[in-house]
């Protein structure tokens, strides 16, 4: 488990999501990265049931239940800006039992699927973010295995990202900032994915607002 950076790759102009992903993977393969199966990260949104809400005007907090194929036996439950719970996969069954408190938002499932590439110490995952049947964007995750302190290897990561993302290289993820010299954990990756999914969801809504 190393330090991971999750970022969004904008769709190239005049091309579909699929084509942009292919372009990226071809670049990676040219670099010499090795294909190692597929990966999948999914996220489901729950909101607290109305019956449990106390006063009026208090909007229910959103809870995200996520899975990552990199951690096949774990289930992550996160609140926005809140704590992150790492649990067994049995947690999903528990959520069904907690229907009275947490209700699953309709058609809120968002996931990213794609190919997993190994390039020396770097693990690159390029995935297509889908919400329901439609593809919404492209996620790029790069993990540097040998290091667990984010600030120590960010520059290295950045350089590597630049080598194949070019001008679309992202800035340092927010999770790096608030944990200075702290050990990077799997939960931090999930927080980045949650933020990415939220961003993509809002992007979806923005064009609609623009039309109005």
């Amino acid at each position: 488990m190393g330090v991971t950076c999750v970022s969004q790759m904008p769709v190239a102009e005049g091309k579909s999501v699929q084509q942009t992903v292919e372009l990226l993977t071809r670049k990676l393969e040219m670099l010499g990265a090795e294909k190692q199966g597929t990966f999948c990260v999914d996220c489901e949104t729950y909101h607290t049931a109305a019956s449990t809400l106390g006063g009026q005007g208090q909007s229910g907090k959103l809870m995200y239940v996520m899975h990552n194929s990199e951690h096949p036996l774990s289930c992550f439950a996160l609140f926005e800006n809140g704590p992150c719970l790492i649990a067994d996969t049995n947690f999903d069954v528990l959520m069904v039992k907690l229907k009275g408190f947490f209700q699953s938002a309709k058609a809120s499932k968002i996931e990213t699927r794609g190919t997993r590439y190994q390039y020396c110490d770097f693990l690159v995952k390029v995935g297509t973010v889908t919400m329901g049947p439609s593809a919404r964007g492209i996620s790029v995750e790069v993990e540097y295995g040998p290091c667990v302190v984010a600030s120590d290897c960010w520059n290295l990561l950045l350089e590597f990202l630049q080598s194949f993302l070019g001008s679309h290289t992202p800035g340092a993820p927010a999770v790096f900032g608030n944990r200075h010299d702290m050990v990077y954990g799997p939960a931090d990756t999930m927080v980045q994915y949650m933020e990415l999914f939220n961003k993509i969801r809002k992007q979806q809504q923005l064009p609609v607002a623009g039309i109005r």
């Binding site: 488990m1 951690h71 096949p72 649990a87 067994d88």
Partner: protein, 649 residues
């Protein structure tokens, strides 16, 4: 007077009165009998006052013959007369004088004693001090007698107790037969699991409680041994309790692991190596139940190991499939090498005993692996046992604890696969066998090289501590007599399962395969390099100058093993140069370059006209190295160098 006729003399009995004197006329004057008082005085005179009163009793019979009355009655009577005598007859009556004197003496003594005692009582001028005295002889006899008496009493008490004990022992003996079965059963229960089913007592031999998953029930039955005639003498090893063991667990068994170079004929498989071990001569009579049960349990464990191994042998896919034939598992860890693991089970019946008489082949057991197999199965048992360790979360499936934590601790794929990869018994044992074989082969290779080649010498230092999968040896290549200056080649050989990693002194790593030829070639090339290194070191010591040095020469004949190495050194004055080329196969070739002016048959050159050019070195001449004196290469080289160096003296 002669005519006087004999006179008749009549003899009369003496009268009561004593005759005092007989007159000439024959008249006798009689002594007047003593009056009472006179008699008393006479008697009193005879009293010896010096004797103590304590001895009166003893003296009495010796003193008076006919005066018994005086012994008893003299005391008071004498005192009365004494008073009279003192008062009345003091001057006249002499007979009482001695009595008086004695009394007076005693009075004086009494007075002195009184004075002494009074002085002693004051404790001013005189004290009494006890004086240790030897026991008196009459007292010793007394002590002896008393001791004898008390000893006799003690002996009597002891005798009584002994009698009682023998009585109880004989009683015990009678009850023994009845009670022994129960006590033996109690002892059995302390070591083995027993349960009562119906009217039978059944025991459990299996390792199930220790984590074994072997399906054999391993039940034995406890029976009472009644076929002994109580009237006859009971044999010493008689035990009222006996156990009945399932027939397939009888006898003795062991797992045999061996490595063979050549694979035997396939037709012999499974039947050979069956009953190699001579059976221990069984004592007459049945063995004790404890030994019986232990043997049966061992058979069960061996069977379990073999079953586990053969199951894995069938399941595991390997390049050369493992063969399971009857009671033998064959595997090929290396080409032309066969690892055989066999279960040898011999029962005590006559049929198997006959087969033990077969000629025995030399034992090729790998006892270490056999022992390790037992260890591995125990570990396997422990694993199954520890996986269901309590307490355990109710919502989770049974499994390894790390596996259970992998979800909440978000293990990634690599970590999870590292937990899950559990090697089987067979894989582990094959790996160990490979390592053992590789180690012995490396040792044999090094030893044979060391004994075959004298110059340079090879030393191997095996490390005492090793892993089951890895051990290491340090190989030093030196020249005899020059150990201090020729230390260039030090190799660390790490012998693993599949390959040997060689670490040079400078950190270079070479990986060799399991083939012994590779190790041998490598060592040969190292030895050849060592000679050239030694020349370099020697040149430093001798003050020669190294002109060129190469470990791998690109010129000259091609060696089949490694490369030749070469060095050229010049003498301190620069007149001479020695060039050495040493190859692992071609051997060493030594050339000496002389100054031009020493060469007579040098053709006149048109270019080098000036005489100063004569100081240049001329052509090379080969040294007949075989004819050089010296016990080894470096020594010869030293002689050559010193021969070519100018004498500094």
């Amino acid at each position: 007077m002669s005519g006087v006729r004999a006179v008749r003399i009549s003899i009369e009995s003496a009268c009561e009165k004593q005759v005092q004197e007989v007159g000439l006329d024959g008249t006798e004057t009689y002594l007047q009998p003593l009056s009472m008082s006179q008699n008393l005085a006479r008697l009193a005179q005879r009293i010896d006052f010096s004797q103590g009163s304590g001895s009166d009793d003893d003296d009495a019979p010796a003193d008076g013959d006919a005066h018994d009355w005086a012994g008893t009655g003299a005391g008071p009577g004498a005192e009365q007369d004494e008073d009279e005598g003192l008062v009345k007859f003091q001057p006249s009556l002499w007979p009482w004088d001695s009595v008086r004197n004695n009394l007076r003496n005693s009075l004086t003594e009494m007075c002195v004693l009184y004075d002494v005692l009074s002085i002693v009582r004051d404790k001013k001028f005189m004290t009494l001090d006890p004086v240790s005295q030897d026991a008196l002889p009459p007292k010793q006899t007394l002590q002896l007698i008393s001791k004898k008496k008390s000893l006799a009493g003690a002996a009597q008490i002891l005798l009584k107790g002994a009698e009682r004990l023998t009585k109880s022992v004989t009683e015990n003996q009678e009850n023994k037969l009845q009670r022994d079965f129960n006590s033996e059963l109690l002892r059995l229960r302390q070591h083995w699991k027993l349960r009562k089913v119906g009217d039978k007592i059944l025991g459990d031999l299996s390792y199930r409680s220790a984590g074994s998953l072997f399906p054999h029930h391993g039940t034995f039955e406890v029976i009472k041994n009644t076929d002994v005639d109580l009237d006859k003498k009971i044999p010493e090893d008689y035990c009222p309790l006996d156990v009945q063991i399932p027939s397939d667990l009888e006898g003795s068994a062991y797992i045999k692991v061996s490595i063979q170079k050549q694979s035997p004929d396939i037709g012999d498989l499974g039947t050979v190596n069956l009953f190699k071990r001579p059976l221990l001569k069984s004592k007459p009579g049945s063995p004790h139940w404890q030994t019986k049960l232990e043997a049966a349990q061992n058979v069960l464990l061996c069977k379990e190991i073999f079953a586990q191994l053969s199951r894995e042998a069938v399941q595991i896919k390997s390049q050369i499939p493992h063969i399971v034939v009857k009671n033998q598992i064959l595997s090929q860890p290396f080409p032309n090498l066969q690892l055989s693991i066999s279960l040898c089970h011999s029962s005590n019946d006559k049929k198997s005993q006959k087969s033990t008489t077969e000629k025995q082949s030399p034992e090729d057991h790998l006892y270490v692996l056999e022992h390790n197999l037992h260890l591995l199965i125990r570990e396997f048992h422990k694993q199954t046992l520890s996986s269901i360790m309590m307490p355990h979360p109710a919502s989770l499936p049974f499994g390894h604890k790390r596996m259970r934590l992998s979800g909440p601790q978000a293990f990634d794929k690599n970590e999870i696969s590292s937990i899950q990869s559990t090697e089987g018994l067979l894989e582990k044992i094959i790996k160990q066998a490979k390592h053992i074989f590789l180690r012995s082969r490396a040792a044999a290779t090094i030893d044979s090289l060391a004994s075959r080649i004298e110059d340079p010498q090879i030393q191997a230092h095996w490390s005492n501590i090793s892993d089951v999968y890895e051990s290491s040896v340090k190989v030093l290549i030196t020249s005899q007599g020059y150990e201090q200056i020729c230390k260039s080649i030090q190799l660390q050989l790490n012998i693993g399962v599949e390959q040997i990693r060689v670490v040079h002194r400078d950190g270079r790593v070479v990986t060799l395969s399991h083939q012994e030829q590779e190790l041998q070639d490598f060592l040969l090339s190292q030895m050849s390099q060592h000679q050239v290194h030694a020349v370099q070191q020697l040149a430093k010591v001798m003050g020669w100058q190294v002109l060129s040095f190469s470990n791998h020469v690109g010129l000259g004949p091609i060696e089949s093993i490694g490369n030749a190495s070469a060095i050229t050194v010049a003498s301190p004055s620069g007149d001479y140069a020695i060039s050495v080329r040493n190859g692992p196969e071609s051997g060493s070739k030594i050339m000496v370059q002389f100054p031009r002016n020493q060469c007579k048959d040098l053709p006149k050159s048109d270019v080098l006209q000036d005489s100063k050019w004569n100081h240049l070195r001329g052509p090379f001449k080969e040294v007949e190295w075989n004819k050089m004196e010296g016990r080894n290469f470096v020594y010869k080289m030293e002689l050559l160098m010193s021969a070519l160096s100018p004498c500094l003296l």
